[in-house]
């Protein structure tokens, strides 16, 4: 009896520092955000008052919100499959004994180590009209000069290309780790059976990499909602919100328009999205990957 109390006490004491900080910066703000979204903004002349679901009403009626949400979905669709596909190709390349393998791996991985702000600075120049590298190169083939980031039609795709460049090498690492767990005997067996490499990949490697793919998929999905640093340099969400993403819109509302109430409602929306992702991961993905 006495030893259980002691166990209890020691356990809790060890956990306390982490618990206090997690409550202060994760759990409390999560709950407080929800309550803030139910109150109007406080100003010098008017105190905050309970407005219920009014900011959610505003959100539903806000065309910018829908646009931003839509952008985020397209950003996810544009970045995730491409970067995963490239990551698999890169991992297959550097998993083989080929000349210059270390150098290749370094090249693929290096964008991962750069801050998104630096990446945006570098790519800003590629995309600038007339003088930018992209226009220069395309100009050699007679393609007309474009304002890549200034045109609503090309702005988001331009940002997607840059993000794929930044992320593919990061996901490659996980595929490389996954490939190394596949027994080389399987490859030998497949060779004896005369199976083509194409078949070997789709029948053996890809299915065995499924847990990796699911892990990367979840991470890539989360990243597509959390990563907005580049917008500060490249477009500021423009032109006409063509590249604005949810988190950047939250930032704008809170720190440029000082509309805390609306920013809180948007945050709650984002938290709900993340909660759904977490549930999907917990009930579907984890169940399916645990057969290992």
């Amino acid at each position: 009896m006495k030893s259980t109390t002691k166990q209890n006490l020691t356990g809790w004491l060890l956990f306390t520092p982490a618990a206090i900080l997690l409550i202060a910066f994760t759990h409390y703000p999560t709950i407080a955000t929800f309550f803030n979204s139910l109150y109007s903004n406080e100003s010098v002349i008017r105190p905050s008052r309970f407005t219920g679901l009014e900011s959610y009403q505003n959100m539903i009626n806000d065309p910018v919100f829908w646009k931003v949400f839509n952008n985020n979905i397209w950003f996810a669709i544009g970045t995730i499959p491409t970067s995963i596909g490239l990551a698999i190709i890169m991992a297959l390349i550097v998993n083989k004994a080929i000349p210059g393998r270390g150098l290749l791996r370094l090249c693929y991985f290096i964008p991962t180590m750069l801050p998104m702000i630096a990446v945006a600075n570098i790519w800003l120049f590629f995309y600038s009209p007339d003088i930018g590298l992209l226009d220069k190169v395309l100009g050699m083939f007679g393609v007309e000069s474009q304002n890549w980031l200034g045109d609503p039609d090309t702005a988001l795709p331009s940002i997607i290309v840059m993000t794929v460049w930044k992320e593919a090498g990061f996901f490659m690492i996980f595929y490389l780790a996954g490939l190394q767990t596949i027994s080389p005997e399987l490859h030998e067996a497949a060779k004896l059976e005369g199976s083509s490499r194409w078949n070997y990949f789709w029948r053996i490697q890809f299915p065995l990499l499924l847990p990796t793919t699911l892990f990367v998929l979840i991470n890539a999905f989360l990243n597509s909602f959390k990563l907005v640093d580049h917008l500060f340099i490249l477009t500021k969400g423009g032109p006409d919100n063509a590249t604005n993403l949810i988190l950047y819109y939250i930032y704008e509302n809170a720190f440029s328009f000082f509309d805390i109430s609306y920013a809180s409602a948007l945050t709650v929306f984002m938290l709900t999205l993340l909660a759904i992702t977490a549930l999907v991961q917990f009930f579907i993905v984890d169940k399916r990957t645990h057969y290992r």
């Binding site: 982490a18 999560t30 370094l106 630096a118 600075n121 690492i173 809170a254």
Partner: protein, 273 residues
């Protein structure tokens, strides 16, 4: 006949691999090249134009990048040791103590894997303002000090350590902290290294939260300094921005190039767990 066809295919593949690698590294190499050339040469891509250090001189005069660098260093050195200490204690509790509510508590810890501090910027800004920590190194670091990810990684590692070692230390009269320090920490060193590299690179590169919570040169890290410097409306030219970008990334980049293997393995290890 068949053999040569295969080797042709192999060479095409190899060529593809190198082209992809070139595409991946050229943007960075180009920025590197441009930083040492005048802006007009960089725009015209004049390969044989003279090298110059003017851009770096210009950056140095226009913005306090040394101060930014010191701030980034201070932020990273504030966050990492606290993360390690706090997570070690919590991870030990979760790995070896079955205290009341430990399962619920652990689930609540894992919430932070999904809801990272970036998402709660609005509320956390309010909290830090009420603590008078806006525009301080502590303010930049504090929301990240308790890391669910670190707790999770260390708990997994601690659980894999044989309990007999702990019992042996107990017989020698060690208390919980003594056991932790003498048995668990030494055996978990690879995990500590892996987390440290991931944490340092994450916080070296972090932007959004530091942007919000800092206002002055006194606490602004490199990324935020670079963000302000490179913003198109500030009207600086391309070569100078390249030089500033290079200045901001080179410490971490050099560390990465020197310890490439450790970095890659750390990311791998951290992801698999």
């Amino acid at each position: 006949m068949k053999k040569s066809k295969f080797s042709l295919l192999a060479s095409i593949e190899l060529l593809g691999a190198y082209i992809l690698a070139a595409l991946w590294v050229l943007p960075l190499l180009y920025a590197f090249w441009a930083a040492f050339h005048s802006s007009s040469d960089a725009i015209h891509f004049d390969i044989f134009s003279p090298l110059t250090l003017d851009n770096f001189r210009e950056v140095w005069n226009q913005a306090p990048f040394l101060q930014y660098g010191i701030n980034t260093f201070l932020i990273v050195s504030f966050i990492l040791p606290l993360q390690l200490v706090i997570s070690t204690l919590a991870a030990y509790a979760f790995a070896r103590y079955e205290f009341t509510g430990s399962n619920i508590a652990f689930t609540l810890v894992l919430v932070q894997l999904m809801i990272t501090p970036e998402i709660l910027i609005v509320q956390n800004y309010g909290t830090l303002a009420s603590m008078n920590l806006v525009d301080t190194i502590t303010g930049v670091g504090l929301p990240y000090v308790a890391s669910a990810f670190c707790i999770f990684l260390l708990r997994q590692t601690f659980k894999s350590i044989p309990k007999e070692l702990e019992d042996a230390a107990k017989l020698e009269g060690c208390g919980p902290l003594g056991i932790l320090w003498k048995v668990y920490v030494p055996l978990a060193l690879p995990t500590y290294l892996a987390f440290a590299l991931v944490s340092v690179s994450h916080h070296w590169n972090n932007f959004l939260w530091p942007l919000i919570i800092t206002n002055t040169v006194e606490s602004r890290p490199l990324t935020v300094g670079l963000g302000i410097f490179g913003a198109p409306e500030s009207g600086v030219d391309w070569s100078i921005v390249s030089a500033a970008t290079l200045l901001s990334i080179f410490p971490l980049l050099i560390a990465f190039l020197l310890f490439q293997k450790q970095f890659v393995q750390s990311f791998m290890q951290a992801g698999i767990k």
